[in-house]
């Protein structure tokens, strides 16, 4: 395993930044998210490795607001131009395992057999993920309950596995992309140290048979109980690493414009609002139910995997503490 002392992390980043676009987890004025390393260098943001970031790294695959193509009215005609993809490979340093699993979920949606989303695909190909194993789970983390391996990142997504040894980081290539990237790095040490100890997760529960159980619970009174306090804000969807719903808009300035893809949330009124004004999911109950069932049942039925990866963001950030883990535990009984 290649290693580097934490004190020399800057030089590692400098090397990566030379060859790649480099995204690192940062604290930007109180908001933790992935951002260009240059922000850290400029002092705009501080490197944040104490826990997972609030806004998940799905932003590097599905930005909150993304131009799909540009257009220009020329007389009565419209000229359209595709967006250029990432021109350079991009390293995401410090993506947590739950978030690698989340990207795998997104793959199911955006890299479907029938249709591959070109913009997503471009980013997927260009991104090199350094996935950092979590030694100290937060009280809201429950990835293990959702079947994740805290020592090994999702192999189809992560390119380099990173371990935190206290004073140093260790690196193991997972993919060829990752290996090529590691090979380019100089000044790394080499140890065969054993994997670091991982503190146990406190939030643990059994999810066996959950999708099946939920199948019969569409009209269960539990939804009233859980939806009561929901504010119908978009916090959970926007910070969730797997939520991927989007809306398509135009941004027009006179004769030119771009087609924009922006995140949307199933919590919002306009999400299911139909052209004639009909709203099939009129209230909190319908929306909370849809979100939970999509995470825990529908996605399972379609892709044989849960759309909840146990990152715990919504548990931590929901303004009114609508707790999906409590819900699961109550359903499982």
């Amino acid at each position: 395993m290649k290693t580097i002392e934490k004190a020399k992390l800057d030089s590692l980043f400098a090397q990566l930044a030379q060859n790649y676009s480099l995204l690192v987890p940062v604290d930007y004025n109180g908001l933790t998210q992935f951002a260009p390393y240059s922000q850290v260098q400029e002092g705009v943001s501080q490197l944040y490795l104490d826990g997972n970031v609030t806004v998940s790294p799905k932003t590097a695959y599905l930005p909150q607001s993304e131009a799909m193509y540009k257009f220009r009215a020329q007389g009565k005609k419209l000229a359209i131009e595709e967006m250029a993809g990432l021109d350079k490979q991009q390293v995401l340093f410090g993506v947590r395992h739950c978030d690698t699993k989340a990207i795998q979920c997104l793959d199911k949606v955006f890299l479907d057999e029938k249709f591959e989303d070109p913009q997503y695909k471009n980013k997927r190909e260009q991104n090199i993920v350094f996935s950092l194993a979590c030694n100290n789970p937060k009280a809201t983390c429950f990835c293990e309950s959702m079947g994740l391996d805290r020592a090994h990142a999702e192999a189809s997504v992560a390119d380099v596995q990173v371990y935190d040894f206290g004073d140093s980081f260790g690196f193991e290539a997972i993919s060829d992309k990752g290996k090529a990237c590691l090979d380019k790095l100089t000044g790394l040490g080499e140890t065969a140290s054993k994997l670091p100890d991982q503190k146990p997760q406190t939030l643990k529960f059994d999810v066996a048979g959950l999708p099946e159980k939920l199948k019969d619970m569409f009209e269960d009174p539990i939804w009233d109980e859980y939806s009561f306090k929901c504010l119908n804000c978009g916090t959970c969807s926007y910070i969730c690493p797997t939520c991927h719903c989007f809306d398509i808009n135009n941004k027009i300035r006179g004769e030119v414009g771009v087609k924009l893809r922006t995140w949307d949330s199933c919590m919002f009124n306009e999400y299911t609002l139909m052209a004639g004004g009909h709203q099939p999911r009129a209230g909190k109950k319908e929306r909370v139910r849809n979100r939970f069932l999509h995470k825990l049942q529908y996605f399972n039925e379609k892709h044989d995997m849960s759309l909840c990866v146990g990152c715990g963001r919504c548990v931590a950030k929901c303004p009114v503490n609508v707790d999906i883990t409590k819900f699961i535990r109550q359903v499982i009984g």
């Binding site: 300035r253 006179g254 004769e255």
Partner: protein, 668 residues
């Protein structure tokens, strides 16, 4: 699909000399929504309008933009033009590239063309969001209110009444008659003012369709054209007008004395009084400020009461209070007249300190047979007949520095009239008139002026008076004769100043109550200086007489007649078309918070309960509702409304945003 036709007008060279109209038409040809774009010499001309109509048909246009003059000028013309070929008139917009562009950017052709392009783009973007609107209808209250009972008000009321409509005259003094009743003779015929006025006053008071509301003030006006609700303060007369026979006993007995304002304070009147013998109604009021009883009450006593003792019908009522009444009218005519400029601001004329320096209106009272001197022209100071009189014109007029910048129009003539009257009454008296110009544009006016000089021997001196000072019993008048280039000094016995006409001191407040415009001097603003001289910008409110600007009697009477015709035309309708550009609430969006209710100046918004199906249940909830015939379309509610439920038709959020965006898009 929007298919906008754009028509750029050259307005001859008015626009064309600055804005490259063909280029503007070219610039917007490919602008989103535009289906046809062209330019033409005169869009408002018959061929120009035909051109628009043909293009609508040929190019299947469903929206039209004309870039020409101000929409305040020709919006109506073009709306009618497009309507003729079946387009809804509200599918039309105007871009003002004349008043707002070519006329103000002379010589900056390139920039002006660019600006015109922007303005057209804004109009196109807006018109693309326009919706077809239909005019509404509102009932008409077939009664008019004339505010002011001077000659203009009386004439206007008579004309309306003779057309068969009810009309109320609101007068703030105890009697109708106005300034004309103070004037002795009228120019150029020198006939007796009272002799021609009083028959009109009597006619008005006895006309079955006219109701006089005297000694009353306009308090508040609500409503809108066809449906005004006017609150009137009937001031306490302290005399029961129903019981009073007008015998006048009270006035002969009253021990209270006060300055007689009708006679320009040249004498005293009693505290219970009628302003002049021919007053209508000829029933007195008690001037509470000067009444001994009311004065004593202020000191906690209660004395006098003589008038009450002597009144044979028991009409005196000391306990009367002001009464507020609200009446409905279909139209309002403002005929509030003028005031005389106060010359005491002029130091060179002695700051009003010299008793024998008087104003024109003072003179009218002096020379009037029923005035304080029984018509003898004497000096107020010592009641001696003046042997030399100096008259000074343009006192307050044409003096932007200290007075008013405008010409008061009447002074040249009334000065000439007064000069001849002095010469008539006192043939030995020498009369000098200092003038800047002599302006006599009126029928027989210049002839009269010439007679004044030639037959009556009044000496006209072209120049200003620089100083008047008391020198013993005489007034020394220093001035310049600019024709001779010499300084002149005249020892006069009396000086008569031709004071300017100014608006009523509270004209601005009046305008605000009625909701009409006024100019920098306080004259009410007509809707168009040439083509709408008696209309105001507020539909249903008209102007008559000097409240609109200085006017002599014939002009006031003519304008009163014109206003009456407009009123009758309005009252002759059973219903009025109302503008559809009013506010509307989208009940789907409205939360019923009601914050828009208090901001509406027309009380047009109410909260009402609607029923709605929601999740299989019928629920009831509050929403705001706009009464479209009350709403006048200001838009105050639309900004108060956070959710955008209240929206102003033809000026919707989307339309204004489209204009903002259209302008800003050119910035990038």
């Amino acid at each position: 699909m929007e298919r906008v036709g754009v028509f750029i007008c050259h307005c001859g060279s008015n626009i064309g000399a600055v804005v490259d109209c063909a280029k503007v038409a070219e610039n917007v040809r490919n602008y989103p929504g535009v289906a046809y774009s062209t330019d033409y010499k005169y869009m408002c001309s018959e061929p120009g309008q035909e051109m628009i109509q043909n293009a609508i048909k040929e190019h299947n246009l469903n929206r039209v933009v004309v870039a020409s003059c101000s929409p305040r000028m020709h919006e109506k013309t073009f709306r009618a033009c497009v309507e003729k070929v079946g387009l809804n008139p509200y599918m039309f917009e105007m871009a003002n590239i004349r008043e707002h562009c070519s006329w103000v950017h002379a010589g900056k052709n390139e920039e002006a063309t660019e600006k015109a392009t922007d303005l057209v783009k804004m109009a196109v973007s807006k018109v693309c969001k326009n919706e077809e609107l239909q005019k509404g209808h509102a009932p008409v209250t077939k009664r008019a209110l004339v505010v002011g009972g001077g000659i203009a008000g009386i004439q206007c009321a008579l004309d309306i009444a003779n057309n068969g409509y009810q009309v109320d005259i609101l007068e703030r003094t105890p009697s109708i008659g106005g300034k004309m009743s103070q004037i002795d003779k009228t120019f150029p015929t020198i006939d007796c003012s009272a002799c021609i006025l009083t028959p009109k006053m009597v006619e008005a008071s006895s006309h079955p369709n006219i109701n006089l509301i005297t000694y009353s003030e306009l308090e508040h006006v609500d409503g809108y054209v066809g449906n005004f609700e006017v609150t009137i303060r009937k001031k306490a007369r302290s005399v029961d007008i129903k019981k009073c026979t007008g015998c006048g006993t009270c006035m002969t007995k009253c021990p209270g004395k006060a300055d007689d304002e009708f006679n320009m304070n040249l004498r005293k009147r009693t505290a219970i009084y009628t302003p002049f013998p021919q007053a209508i109604p000829n029933k007195p009021v008690i001037d509470r400020v000067n009444c001994l009883k009311f004065k004593s009450r202020e000191n906690g006593k209660d004395v006098c009461g003589i008038c009450s003792k002597f009144c044979p019908t028991g009409a005196i009522d000391y306990e009367q209070v002001d009464e507020l009444v609200t009446e409905k009218y279909g139209a309002i005519v403002m005929a509030t007249g003028y005031e005389q400029f106060d010359h005491s601001i002029y130091g060179e004329y002695g700051y009003g300190k010299y008793p024998d320096v008087i104003s024109g209106l003072h003179f009218e009272r002096l020379v009037n047979a029923s005035g304080p001197t029984q018509g003898h022209i004497v000096r107020p100071s010592d009641h001696k007949e003046p042997k030399t009189v100096v008259m000074v014109k343009c006192v307050g007029s044409r003096d932007p520095e200290h007075g008013k910048s405008y010409c008061s129009r009447t002074c040249c003539m009334y000065t000439a009239k007064q000069a001849t009257m002095i010469r008539d009454h006192c043939p030995d008296t020498k009369v000098y008139v200092f003038y800047m110009d002599v302006r006599t544009p009126g029928k027989l006016y210049d002839e009269f002026y010439n007679r004044t000089r030639e037959e009556y021997g009044v000496e006209y001196v072209r120049g200003r008076v620089s100083k008047i000072y008391q020198d013993g019993e005489q007034l020394m008048v220093k001035g310049e004769d600019t024709l001779l280039g010499k300084q002149v000094e005249i020892a006069a016995d009396m000086v008569i100043l031709a004071n300017a006409m100014i608006p009523q001191t509270d004209s601005e407040k009046m305008a605000q109550i009625v909701g009409i415009g006024y100019d920098k001097d306080g004259w009410f603003t007509e809707s168009h200086p040439k083509l709408g001289p008696v209309e105001t910008h507020t539909a249903g409110v008209f102007l008559a007489g000097a409240c609109q600007g200085p006017k002599d009697i014939p002009d006031s009477v003519a304008q009163a007649g014109a206003a009456a015709v407009k009123v009758c035309a309005l009252l002759s309708k059973d219903q009025l078309e109302t503008e559809p550009t009013v506010s509307k609430v989208d009940t789907k969006i409205c939360s019923g918070c009601g914050l828009c209710v208090p901001v509406c100046p027309y009380k047009a918004i109410t909260l009402e309960t609607i029923q709605e199906r929601r999740a299989g249940k019928t629920i009831e909830r509050l929403v705001a509702n706009v009464n479209s015939s009350l709403c006048q379309g200001c838009g105050a509610c639309t900004v108060t409304c956070r959710s955008g439920a209240a929206n102003l038709k033809h000026f919707t959020n989307a339309q204004i945003l489209a204009e903002v965006d259209a302008l800003c898009q050119t910035i990038l």
